[in-house]
Symmetry: D3
Subunit: 146 residues, 6 copies
């Protein structure tokens, strides 16, 4: 890659990269059938989201929309961005967010090795305080990939 190439890539990226829905290899139901942890997470999340949806709060809807857009296929593949979401979630130490992105990554065909390699970045950046979340993440990985 030369600086010139960089320049033209930059031009392309500024003229609206195409965003589109990723193709999932597995349904949420498939994952829920493989993993009890995933099932409980998916069901609880669906129930609580239904309650949030009912409130119909303008800004919450806008935020959910932008959140959805973030992980579409774009300049970077959806797979990569789900793994980035996993890293961010593990660094910020949120089990629900870790489960969400690990399940999404699984549904997109990400391997267990790729999930572990991503979690390693979070572990080293975030330190031993991440370990309890890592343990619970590995339990989910074991159920999904085992």
């Amino acid at each position: 890659m030369t600086p010139t190439t960089n320049g033209s890539t930059a031009t392309v990226e500024r003229t609206a990269p195409e965003r589109k829905e990723p193709t999932y290899l597995f349904t949420e139901k498939y994952v829920a059938d493989k993993s009890e942890i995933a099932r409980r997470f998916i069901e609880t999340r669906a129930r609580l989201n239904a309650n949030v949806d009912k409130a119909n709060n303008f800004l919450v809807k806008r935020f959910y929309n932008i959140d959805h857009n973030t992980y579409l296929e774009g300049v970077l593949p959806a797979k990569t961005k789900e793994l980035m979401g996993l890293v961010a979630s593990a660094c910020l130490r949120c089990d629900d967010c870790i489960f969400y992105h690990a399940i999404q990554a699984y549904r997109l065909g990400v391997t267990r090795a790729e999930q572990e390699d991503s979690l390693n970045v979070a572990l080293v950046v975030g330190g031993s305080i991440v370990i309890p979340h890592l343990r619970r993440a590995y339990e989910l990985l074991e159920e999904m990939y085992g």
Copy 2:
């Protein structure tokens, strides 16, 4: 990808993925010549690291070593992991860490669009508190890619 494929991938990943040094397209000096922000960061970091090295603290050396190992070519490409480091750094709001990973990613040939897409994950996960860091990151991107 089928569950069976998942299983065999998992087997492979456990027999020691090869880790090796990534190939940089650009030297630190090249980046420092393009960007004054990069130059100041690289020089300050080198000076302070020399002081840390002199202290020769056993655990610090061990930690630096594990940190170095995290971003090698492995199951995931070094490029992807540097961008994950960028996401983690932006979420956890550390300018030095953001600069470090953005520069490393640049040196590996990552495009500006890919850096921006990564920062978007950090912005949405981490919220508006990330914005001041995003602004400074964009200033660096402008200098490196502009």
Copy 3:
């Protein structure tokens, strides 16, 4: 408001703003009867606080005292400060703290719309990592105001 007015207000504020206990429209018991989530939170908190009180630790008592003083009627109404406590709790992602301030705000007569508007500030400042807490907060709001 003119700079002169600002100046004199500032003088008043420095001569000890009156702090006094707020008037609750609803008892904790009233809230616990409306919401099972509130009941469990209130009971667990009371049980654990009794244990902390028994320890009679000097600094903990001092801290609890300053904490209590923070949310009294003062320059700002208690309602506003409970909502600020809610925003801080949601940004820092502590379910117990969110439940505590949402219940206190309810008891002071804050509307659901005001609670949601406060949570929006936390969501935008704190990012999507706040969402799992937002979901649980909305479940409590639904039970209290539904």
Copy 4:
């Protein structure tokens, strides 16, 4: 307030609360003329934001837009939400964000006493780690209101 009243308020809030631009009593220039800290912050922010705008990143623009919407007059007054933004910023320990919201609150006519009362919530929720930011916030308050 009765539960019935709560219910009807809730109905109203769900049919789109009006959001509108707040009325600023003071311009950014007025604040910059009173406070050197404010001037430097406002100028740097403007310069860096111009660079972000030039990049024209779709998701960043969406995020800035939702961020702007959060602090409009709505169910809660803009003043209150700027102070909530101040509390969140101080808890999360971001000087730029603290300066931004303290200046916005000043421009809307918030008194120094109200700013201090808000910062107290952040100090007690966030602990002594907030103190260095509190010191810098008080320096800005002194320049703006002094």
Copy 5:
């Protein structure tokens, strides 16, 4: 202590401080028999760690190793470092980490008063957001020392 003494101490510290395993006064089983909270924590941690061990991830193993080394007897006594781990865990608000270090400190003969004094540092540095974790920590202390 004189600057000269400081200098020579510094020389000693750089020639490899001896690290060795601390002597535990109590086994994990002893603590588990005294405290139901400790028992549940120790059992869950062991089960989840077995799953992590099975994955045999190179970097995770390295990180666990460095983590283990951090709390050995060294320049500072293991007791002190376990209490520092407790302070860090409480500041960063991780119940599992708090339980881990409080149990380790107990096993090394740390008194309840020393544990409380350590938690006070975390409470004051970290603020009221630490209180829910403090409550749960005191419940564990009560069971272990009661």
Copy 6:
């Protein structure tokens, strides 16, 4: 230590441990003369604190008071608590707080090796995101002890 001993220690600890001012081996001026980083930190802190004091805010004064009480000689030596403050500050990544506690620890006669051992706990708990702060801390240590 036997459970019985634990019990009686616990009784003692609850009857008000004596808190008293620690004895400093070195003045702030002595440290400022050895280290330019310390000098700048001490001077800036004094100037900004004078401004906070002038505001005479009731809750801020209460908080400063409780903060002061936390680090007095007590159940744990002041030295140990200053090092705990250092660990907490490094984990929470606040340079000002790190400098403050490292200087206080130095003034109480803590060795460089003890400071480094404490920082190692923070590094391992908090991860590589702590490294930029560690580098700056080592620069201060070098100036104070070098």
